[in-house]
């Protein structure tokens, strides 16, 4: 699936800013910055990876700046970034 660079989210408390861009090598590479990375870093990365893969992304570079987002917010922001990067919406027109 062809990707262009796209963003979704904000740096407000309770949110996460996701940037997705084409990767140079196969697989999903995630760079995460979070104040709760020690406790929840693996969980946040896992939600991002599962969400992106569920939308057909096999290769991408994702930068995530987390401000204490719940899993549902991580999922929503990752989905939005993928939709913006691929142009393929998850809802019917």
């Amino acid at each position: 699936m062809e990707l262009k660079t796209a963003f979704a989210g904000t740096l407000e408390s309770g949110d996460i800013l996701i940037q997705i861009s084409p990767a140079e090598k196969p697989g999903i590479e995630i760079e995460l910055e979070s104040t709760v990375a020690y406790q929840f870093g693996d969980q946040i990365k896992s939600v991002i990876t599962e969400t992106a893969k569920g939308l057909g992304i096999e290769s991408a570079r994702i930068t995530a700046t987390d401000k204490g987002a719940l899993d549902c917010t991580v999922k929503a922001r990752t989905t939005a970034a993928v939709v913006r990067a691929t142009g393929k919406d998850v809802w019917k027109d």
Partner: protein, 288 residues
Amino acid sequence: MMFVPGNNPGMMADAHIYGPDSIMLDLEDSVTMAEKDTARLLVHNALKSIDYGDTEMVVRINPLNTPYGKKDIEAVVKAGVDVIRMPKTETAEEVIEVEREIERVEKEIGCLGRTKIMAAIESTLGIVNAYAIATASPRMMGIALGAEDYCANLKAQRTKGGEELRLARETIVVAARAAGIDALDTVFSNLNDMETFRNEVEYIKSLGFDGKSIINPRQIEVVNEIFTPKEKEIEKARAIVAAIMEAEKKGSGVIALNGKMIDRPVVIRAQRTIQMAIASGVLSPDEA
């Protein structure tokens, strides 16, 4: 009903902690056009994941004549929203169109009839058509006033006393009562003027409204305090209901209590006081 912007995940996660009766996640006016797509996804995922308990969950969608309305309906119906709030409703046909879209999605996921509709009336045409809107679908559960757009359309200025809204408010309550659904008043947006807010809530309660739209948790306490029946009112209501039940056993529909005639309309008002007391948590159903 507390308004929460649909593009603010922090507020969406915390809103129910303050105990509003219902939460309205907004996809319309509080979300810029550039963020409609992301807000829709946030609201969809929040509804599916956050445990809002008994709080009634409402989502204000964008109108169907925008590129966002149909997608909003799909997203929130699939997430199991309780009520879809239509903005700027002017005709019964608009309600029927929203109902049709809801049905399409509900059929797809196998939950036909689950989603209710509330219509916000925000124009003079909407007020003229209030009863037709209120009765346009069996899914209709309430109508609400949106005062800012209504006043702009009326070519009137907002005032502290709200005289410019009197006809609209009365029309909405009468239409809602005639249709057997709820009437909800508009928001009060000056958070620093709690005295005028309190006066307005007392006023709209006296008109017959079922509740008030609010924009901040600070306003919840005042609304609950004013809408919760006082101890004296509850005691009086219980005495009336007990007296009429006793009279009905004896085959009479009219009685006197403390020297005043008690007939059917008085009993209906007493029953409503008891229902409100139970809903407010100050009276247990066993005591009623």
